[in-house]
Symmetry: C2
Amino acid sequence: MKISNVVVAGGGVLGSQIAFQIAYKGFHMTVWLRSEASIDRARPKFERLKGIYLSTLEAMKTNPAAYCRGLAPSPDLTADQIDELKAQVEQAFNGIEYTTSYEEAAKDADLVIESIAENPQDKIAFYTELAKHLPERTIVVTNSSTMLPSTFAEYTGRPGQYLALHFANEIWRNNTAEIMGHPGTDPAAYDTVVEFAEEIGMIPLKLKKEQPGYILNSMLVPFLSAAEALLATDVADVETIDKTWMLATGAPLGPFRILDIVGLTTAYNIGALDPRAKDPNTVQGKIAAMLKRYIDEGKTGINAGEGFYTYK
Amino acid sequence: MKISNVVVAGGGVLGSQIAFQIAYKGFHMTVWLRSEASIDRARPKFERLKGIYLSTLEAMKTNPAAYCRGLAPSPDLTADQIDELKAQVEQAFNGIEYTTSYEEAAKDADLVIESIAENPQDKIAFYTELAKHLPERTIVVTNSSTMLPSTFAEYTGRPGQYLALHFANEIWRNNTAEIMGHPGTDPAAYDTVVEFAEEIGMIPLKLKKEQPGYILNSMLVPFLSAAEALLATDVADVETIDKTWMLATGAPLGPFRILDIVGLTTAYNIGALDPRAKDPNTVQGKIAAMLKRYIDEGKTGINAGEGFYTYK
């Protein structure tokens, strides 16, 4: 199936990035939001993204390091080619439609990307209402980071055409898309989504089955927890732990630099999913207490200007 | 305390590298080995190391990428300075003494580095006999990867002057030294070992307390196990998992490239320490079965020419 009309539901940090990137790649984009107030809150995010795309493209004319993989398949571009891409940015920004109507959003949709709050009840309500209006052909995907598509498949009215398409933050730079079906996903729908991911400038990362945390978080969470445990049990300090990892593996960032980017609140919330975190005598409890100390001091990571490291 | 005379016990892969590096940095080096046959087996390792050091230094004259941090504190060296370092290599090679006598090895030792087999009984027997001959001042360290210094402290006759100094493979390039005391280690002995590590061109990585796996393996083992689990449960393939990690974290190597370097047999042995690995229905059991399939086919990693990837 050929995808032309795409709907993104949700205008949060990720939803707006996903919608903007897809519009930039020439697809017709409708953003569905719950209310007029949500539309008002989303608009400045799109303004900001337009600015980022335009300034990054302009910088790519003179600085090879400015290149972002989501913006063009190769960094070898003439100034004229970059100006064409900048025109695409303007077109994308002007072409995005906003609606609060399920009917309006659904009627011509080839693909709906759900990127609403990580709350199962909200997602179920959304899918149930959406299903009443969708054409039969429409594929529905979720960008959920923490929930499995099998949880929601039945509510979409099209379990075979439902799967997960999971993006990373700063999609224009971090252009990966983890693609994960549930046991009932139709392979044809899966393949269509893989192809679509490529068309919007993403590198598709294919999961063969459902996995909580997809591929990346399945590795990142235990790695970061191990580093947190070393700090929380006072085995070594932040700098030593990061230095050890970087020297031994050649990685550009150690675990605490990564945690500052992820955000300590997110790390705390992930840790709190483990029941042992409630017991202050366990390693998990010590990690929770340590993260809480940082969070209580406002040191929530790079976005706050301070986390395990200070940024200024 | 000033360290001048160093003894390395053990002439295996790591023992020979440690001894050669220390001799290269100008210390008087005695290698203690269990038998004349062990000396005969060790000599070619030292021949090979001499060759590596000389050819790497020669390459550094023209190729900045050849620089290894263990060989010189900075890559900015004139050809004359490099020739001086090459002379140090020759001196080191010619100056190393070999002995099978505890008395001979112990008598003037300021520092003994134990790098014998990872077998507690062997280590206890070695320490107990060594202790009879050592001067009071001598500091004793273990290079053990898997055992804690508190296990052996009492057998050394000097628990306060006993700790772990743990090196990485290819010490001239991977110049890290994890330094870990047990609860009874004297801080002065710890500091002396930190200083010594710097003097022999290592970057000291200081642990504040005992930790099985030190800093690096405490993070590497859960990270690699998580990647192995994704493969063993057929969530994704080797290339996809590695690509996901590299794209998301900027790391030069994914987990399966690292496993090929570590060696699949080592990974299998580490996994077998978990009792769940005996049950084929657990994730740990599936990982063990998967690694065993590779090992049975001779695909034990980069040294065998094939592991998760093929090298040739």
